[in-house]
């Protein structure tokens, strides 16, 4: 697990943590059932308040990404494959939205974009 927080970012720290863990679960970097550090351990490592890490974990748990087992610790949730896929699709869609809006700003046409995507997807250099 990798978490890097920025104190100068306008985004609250608990959201930064949540986002990074979430994306690592979606990409599979954090596997199902993998143990996460305790909220106290993580707070100590990141030099932030226990309340902040606790809040980040609570949000993640609410969204179904992680499970907390009393007395054992916190783990990446065993997810419904369908749901995980949906979440991953949603994440791709989000990135594509960003991409499209960037392309529109630059005046890149749909055809050009499709061509770029085709090249990238088939892996040709």
């Amino acid at each position: 697990m990798k978490v890097i927080i920025s104190n100068s970012s306008p985004e609250p720290i608990y959201e930064q943590i949540g986002k990074q863990i979430k994306s690592q679960i979606i990409t599979g970097d954090l596997e199902e059932g993998a143990a996460l550090p305790s909220i106290r351990k993580l707070a100590q490592e990141l030099h932030i308040s226990v309340i902040t890490t606790k809040r980040a974990y609570e949000e993640l748990e609410k969204e179904g990404f992680i499970d907390t087992v009393a007395g054992k610790g916190t783990f990446v949730a065993i997810q419904n494959k369908e749901m995980l896929r949906e979440k991953k699709m949603k994440s791709i869609e989000d990135q594509m939205t960003d991409m499209v809006s960037e392309a529109q700003k630059m005046g890149i046409s749909l055809e050009e974009l499709q061509e770029m995507l085709l090249i990238l997807y088939s892996g040709d250099d």
């Binding site: 720290i13 308040s49 309340i51």
Partner: protein, 289 residues
């Protein structure tokens, strides 16, 4: 959630100083930073909890017990560090340890020796030859070797250089890996509190200005900056205090959302540091006097 410390309506008057209706709560498992300018009442609050200074009104509960009725039972579980450690200066650290250790059933020499090693303290040097930093470290080693559940420290980082200061705060975080422990420490240095505290209690002029989690403070408070045309009597009211110059104003808000509604896009919103918060609250205090 249980509370390690509950203070309600605490009052105490000295000549020229008045601690006024102080109330705050520290839940078990967290670090609270007590911040405020010198002379704001931090030490008096801490000394009152410890019964070193006698309260005049209000109640103090530690571990759910009255701090005067159950004094001995409570103090067995407290590790206390004074702002100016008072030891028998003619003793060395080892001798001091031998004097203090018998007072605690849970005293652990191994923990003590480990801390002494870690802090690099000489055991056979007379305490009066210790520097300020060494004295503070010795005081902390003495206070933390009986597995205390509640650690109270008055200005533990004052007089320490930045490196040792950072070590000290890291050390406190280490203690907090055990969720049954709680820490209350005072400091007039805002960065100490920003680095280590879960809860922040800000005291000024003998009163509690606020007692909140650090996240709440970070989210609620902000600096609002803009042109002087944005300021009128109404908009000023939404700010705690304002400092304005020829080219614009800077003010502190305790409610970022509300301020955004009032000032809109024309103003700039910046994170407020604890120092900003203290500065503007102090300004407000001056304005009302």
């Amino acid at each position: 959630m249980t509370n390690t410390l509950e203070i309600s309506n605490l009052s105490k008057s000295y000549k020229g100083f008045h601690l006024n209706n102080v109330s705050f709560t520290l839940p078990t498992g967290y670090i609270m930073g007590l911040i405020g300018p010198n002379g704001a009442g931090k030490t008096t609050i801490i000394k009152t909890i410890m019964n070193l200074v006698m309260k005049q009104e209000g109640s103090v509960k530690v571990f759910g017990m009255d701090h005067q009725e159950q004094e001995v039972a409570i103090k067995k579980r407290i590790g206390f560090v004074y702002d100016t450690p008072a030891f028998y200066a003619h003793l060395n650290l080892k001798q001091l340890k031998n004097v203090v250790a018998p007072f605690y059933e849970k005293w652990d020499d191994a923990v003590f020796n480990d801390l002494v090693d870690r802090f690099g303290l000489p055991e056979n040097k007379s305490l009066k030859k210790f520097s300020r930093g060494m004295t503070m470290k010795a005081s902390i080693a003495i206070a933390l070797s009986h597995d205390a559940d509640f650690i109270i420290m008055d200005e533990p980082t004052s007089g320490l250089d930045p490196v040792v200061r950072r070590e000290m705060l890291d050390f406190l975080r280490g203690i907090m890996q055990d969720e049954n422990k709680s820490i209350l420490f005072s400091s007039h240095v805002t960065t100490d509190i920003e680095q280590a505290a879960d809860y922040i209690t800000y005291v000024n002029d003998g009163k509690v200005v606020f007692s909140k989690t650090k996240d709440e403070v970070n989210e609620a408070y902000a600096l609002v900056k803009g042109g002087n045309d944005l300021l009128d009597d109404d908009t000023k009211k939404s700010l705690i205090a304002v400092r304005s110059g020829d080219y614009g104003f800077e003010g502190l808000t305790a409610d970022l959302k509300a301020s955004k509604m009032i000032f809109g896009d024309k103003a700039v919103y910046d994170k407020a540091s604890l120092e900003d918060i203290m500065f503007f609250h102090n300004l407000q205090l001056k304005n009302t006097h």
